[in-house]
Amino acid sequence: MASCWGLPELLCEFPSLSNGTLRGMRKSIDTGFRDLVRTYSDAIDAATAPLQIFLNTLEDIFTEAPWVVILLLLLAIVWAGSRKWQTMVGTTIAMGLIGVFGLWEDTMITLAMVTVATLVAILIGLPLGILMARSDRFQAFLTPVLDVMQTLPSFVYLIPVVVIFGIGKVPGLIAVVIYAVPPMIRLTNLGIRLVDREVIEAADAFGANPRQKLWGVQLPLSLPTIMTGVNQTIMMSLSMVVVASMVGVGGLGKNVLQAITNQYFTVGFLNGFALVAIAIIFDRTSQAFGKRLQKHQGVGHD
């Protein structure tokens, strides 16, 4: 009980709604929401089915293929992105250690999850970012939405996700995408808006239509920034897979979660480091790729 310093009650205790009203409100919102979801459950299932199939297929391929094939594929991707032998060596050592400690299969599950999440995030984020760059009004609308998405504790939006989609991989995937898509949208928007105004004017002066401007000037010139967005999206989805394991996503995240509940110090760290290793591999690869995209800005005299 506050001491009130002689102030009247109203200015001392914050006048909150009564417990009964709050309880009634919570109940009606929760049941209303649940009923709504129940009514449309078939439609929701149908809508998420392609994601489910995509995710399962990729997971099957990753886990069932011989490890050599996966390692070579990964190295090929790393080479295509970074063109650096150091990154190749690092990748080989990291993946080797993951295999030695018996985490290969869990890593593959996580990898499949992150791959799908990143692709979905790009698919959603790129067009939204482009729209946001084109319309100040849309930017004004979307910015607070993105702010909420980025600051709302991820556990909070896991609740409606679970209510709507249930427990499983797809709800986990959706939670990861919600968490990982804002940087993609923001950096696409930023990249396009930062394109030199004079170059845009030149494109206009030569009669470029909006489509030619977007594909011929704005996107190519903002690609380095967009790649930073992709990089951020990968990093954020990797960190989110641990939280997403609470709603039934397997892989390294699940092991970490189990380690937390059971206080398995070693298991926790091994799985944690495996996540870090993947994160570093993808980070270095995508960053090096982003840098190579800027080769035209290379050294010269001015």
Binding site: E201, A205, F206, G207, V217, H296, G300
Partner: protein, 353 residues
């Protein structure tokens, strides 16, 4: 490139052009037309008067220079010609068509086929090579690379950049980058060439170089060139006609000689005071008719040459006077060193007309 006959070509006619910058230009246009001043519009209504009542004929096949200091509205004016900026009132006619009333699609077509632009800060596409930059206008038009590449290579060669086709703009110096800008504009094969302070960002020597490149090209191509500059020497060197803009209004329009010899007001007189008049005034302007029974001097000089060159020829020949002849060699009159000296050192005064 085929040379079009001047008779069939249309220049650009700018008629009563006004531009007001601000959120509600339409509210004030009538007041401005009735004589509200720039200051009043700015102080009381927070709108900026960019251009006021500009009427100007830009002749086909000539270099028309629009000159003014920064803030005079010259860059705004040139952007009206290809519709990058829409006026608050007025019209811009080309081949009888009003650019102002064109639809977005018509305007794009007009920009693609009739105009090309060169920018002060080059505005090259940094992710494209020199060759790809030069192809840009043709790419936009949908010309296949098999056709556009030879055209681009020709113009790259013409502006003296052979061997740099596969370089990126960032690898080139400023002068070279602007050559790419020029090649890109020329590859478009458009009748109108808009040059917005195209050489202002270049070092003086390179600027002179580029001016020569432009004059040489124009000798061949006879395009309708609109050239914006803040540099009077550049204006006098390039312009077949010069329009001087101040605070969004035209102060004087005429040839370089007209402006130097008969400035319309004190502002322009002040402007042209420091000009090297020996490089602007032509000999035929000073030639006096021969007196009755006077024997013509031995030395013959061309009337279209500037005084500096004539004086040099006369000094070399040791002559005090010379006979001025026109292009065909017909005598026009006589010029002497005293007249040349007087013309070169007398500052211009406002014409009484």
């Amino acid at each position: 490139m085929t040379e079009t006959t001047d008779i069939a070509r249309s220049g650009i006619q700018i008629r009563n052009l006004y531009k007001i910058f601000g959120p509600h230009p339409e509210r004030y246009i009538d007041a401005v037309k009735k004589g509200m001043t720039k200051e009043e519009l700015n102080d009381r209504h927070n709108h900026v008067l960019g251009l006021q009542n500009i009427s100007l004929d830009l002749e086909p096949g000539q270099i028309s220079v629009i000159m003014g200091l920064s803030g005079s509205g010259k860059s705004t004016l040139i952007r009206h010609i290809n519709g990058l900026i829409a006026p608050t009132a007025g019209e811009i006619l080309y081949e009888g068509q009003d650019v102002v009333s064109m639809s977005a699609e018509q305007l794009r077509e007009f920009r693609r086929t009739k105009t090309a632009m060169v920018f002060q800060k080059f505005a090259l596409l940094p992710h494209r090579t020199v060759l790809e930059n030069t192809c840009y206008g043709l790419d936009i038009r949908g010309v296949p690379r098999t056709e556009s590449e030879p055209i681009a290579r020709k113009w790259i060669d013409r502006v003296g950049l052979s061997g740099f086709e596969d370089n990126y703009p960032a690898q080139l110096s400023g002068g070279m980058q602007q050559r790419v800008g020029l090649a890109r504009a020329l590859a478009n094969d458009a009748d109108i060439l808009l040059m917005d302070e195209a050489f202002s960002a270049l070092d003086p020597l390179i600027r002179m170089d580029m001016q020569k490149v432009l004059l040489d090209l124009q000798d061949e191509l006879h395009k309708t060139i609109i050239f914006i500059t803040h540099d009077l020497d550049e204006a006098l060197r390039l312009g077949d006609s010069i329009a001087i803009l101040r605070d969004g209004a035209l102060e004087q329009v005429g040839s370089g000689q007209d402006i130097v010899l008969r400035p319309a007001n004190d502002y322009i007189a002040e402007f042209v005071r420091e000009v090297n008049r020996g490089r602007v005034i032509h000999a035929d302007r000073l030639a006096r008719p021969m007196a009755e029974g006077e024997t013509p001097p031995e030395l013959r000089v061309e009337g279209r040459k500037v005084l500096e060159l004539v004086a040099r020829e006369m000094t070399a020949a040791g002559a005090q006077s010379a006979q001025v002849v026109d292009r065909k060699g017909t005598p026009i009159g006589v010029i002497d060193t005293a007249a040349i000296m007087a013309a070169m050192v007398t500052p211009a005064t406002v014409s009484s007309s």
